[in-house]
Symmetry: C2
Subunit: 348 residues, 2 copies
């Protein structure tokens, strides 16, 4: 039925071992033999049996990329960059690896299950992207899994995710705290004193870090924060829309709204506009991430640019062992404040 190595060997009049060596190219094979084998492979339209090969060699060419939300360009951009470095088809690398992205949907259980599935497949490497959930038991479970993966020879790297303690996974962390601080400092510098903050889901590290940065900036400026100024929600436009309405209800005198990310900011803009408020004349808005669409918002969004593609590419190279991990296994990737039209001097 299906063509096997042995069939190719028979056709090329060599032993299976030789065919295997030609295919893997890590053993000297005479040029003429090689050619004969290659011809046979071609003629028989042979396709290597991945599982068999993985079993015998005790390694596979699978590389997993875990993302929280595949429909979100934040992850898509990172995943694409990682994948392009992993090799995969068309990547810069030589060997053909199957770089696959797994969508956890932000669910801790799915994250764990995917890790198990990848462990089961004896993945060559795993890259986890985006913020982690701040649940101690879950964090411990993930750490344990990562340790086990590493033990089994799987390279683990975290991209845009805080380091995992008790683990020697390489981590490329975004400086969410610093970015958040800078962003709010910018608004304060413009004269804002009453700033609403639309945070992400409570339990995520990213949420907490950005919020901490925001608060640090307020504190540094001697602004006392009103608890009513912070609303939590999901990382999407809808949440931004609703949260903004809520903020406006709580305190109509706010002059700025800082959003957890750009999508949320877009929702905030919509809500403000529908409430008859001009941006930035009446209320300034700021986002985070600088996704491609942010510059097209009207007015264009003041935000913090995260080098998603660069970080992803680097993570990919590290996962492939083509770049040295940063000293200590941890690197912080900084964002860059992008001041655009959505932020301005407050009225009055």
């Amino acid at each position: 039925m299906t063509v096997t190595l042995a069939d190719v060997a028979a056709r090329a009049q060599v032993s299976p071992a030789t065919v295997s060596r030609v295919l893997n190219g890590n053993y000297p094979v005479a040029a003429t033999t090689r050619e004969r084998v290659l011809r046979a492979v071609d003629e028989l339209d042979y396709v290597l049996n991945g599982p068999a090969s993985a079993l015998a060699a005790a390694t596979s060419d699978l590389v997993g990329i875990l993302v929280n939300d595949i429909a979100d360009p934040f992850f898509g951009i990172m995943a694409g960059a990682i994948q392009s470095e992993i090799g995969g088809p068309g990547g810069r690398a030589g060997g053909e690896r199957l770089a696959v992205v797994c969508n956890t949907g932000g669910s801790p259980e799915r994250e764990l299950t995917y890790l198990t599935l990848l462990q089961r497949q004896r993945a060559a490497a795993v890259v986890l992207t985006g913020g982690a959930v701040e649940d101690a038991p879950h964090a411990a479970a993930v750490a344990a899994k990562l340790r086990k993966l590493a033990d089994a020879g799987t390279r683990v790297v975290l991209c845009g995710r805080p380091p995992a303690p008790e683990t020697d996974a390489v981590a490329l962390t975004f400086d969410n705290r610093g970015g958040g601080k800078e962003l709010t400092e910018h608004l304060i510098g413009l004269g804002h004193r009453r700033l609403g903050y639309i945070a992400g889901p409570e339990e995520r590290t990213t949420t907490r870090h950005r919020l901490e940065g925001h608060r640090a900036a307020l504190a540094a400026a001697g602004i006392e924060e009103d608890p009513r100024w912070t609303v939590h929600g999901r990382y999407d436009r809808r949440a931004g829309y609703e949260a903004t309405l809520e903020l406006l209800r709580r305190d109509p005198t706010l002059t700025a709204v800082v959003a957890a990310n750009d999508s949320v900011a877009l929702g905030a803009c919509a809500a403000l506009r529908e409430s008859g408020l001009r941006i930035p004349e009446d209320v300034s808005v700021a986002g985070f991430d600088d996704l491609p669409f942010s510059i097209d918002a009207v007015p264009s969004l003041t935000t913090v640019r995260l080098p998603l593609a660069e970080a992803g590419a680097r993570a990919g190279r590290i996962a492939m062992g083509r770049e040295e991990p940063p000293p200590g296994g941890i690197a912080t990737v900084r964002g860059e404040l992008m001041v655009r039209g959505s932020s301005g001097v407050p009225r009055g």
Copy 2:
């Protein structure tokens, strides 16, 4: 080093065969024995060896999803929906399958390579999303691959992609032609007579179909199209921006710009605005797809909504054999015209 089935068997004082049967649950095993085995699995923290299992059983639990651009929500939304139905961790389905998305970047070679890689892994199913490239040799190569995959027992389904002739792959096709026609009819109905069209890459089926719909509408209204009114570019905002500038240069009297998709439309809006033109007073703009951000554009985008998530979910179910394929293996999924603020009556 690593725990194997035999280790578990030894610990549970049963044969490896029994352990395998407990794990696969398709053979009667006494409750007490089962429990003993399960306990051993737990105690040893055993993880099945995927490749070995795939080799022995001649099937794997991998399901591949091919997308053209993982950073584009158009694909992200579909992929997410497919994945959630595939089962994967947390999906509705029972068995745990590893649903993985592969990013072809729109490159025909990568598409082929990924298919080979999936074939090599003996994937259980493969879903190809998005438009295909209209290159005869490549189409033939893909068709051949798909046939081979199907022969090997892999279920193949196309989602948002035209049917593959000479293949019995199930196809859920978007009615790009109909949507394009309806969109342009809407603009014509508003009084537009000079409409620019920013098309996608020339060689893509999606591009051609949408453009055909546009032209059909023009023809039906007796509007003779000026070749200068069509510009081709990539499916991103940048292309939309540049193409719009080009269109304006070629014919400053255009009263409407129809874009290949929403991202392109966003770029078009930016270019128009920078050229001092108001939307829709001076120029109307229309997109396609109705991605989440489209409603947030200012003015919000008139576009054609494609039921991406629904189609993806259906494709996923079909791929898993949990839903009957449509009669004839081909179904057309229609879009819905969303009239919003970016289109209006032309000036004058």
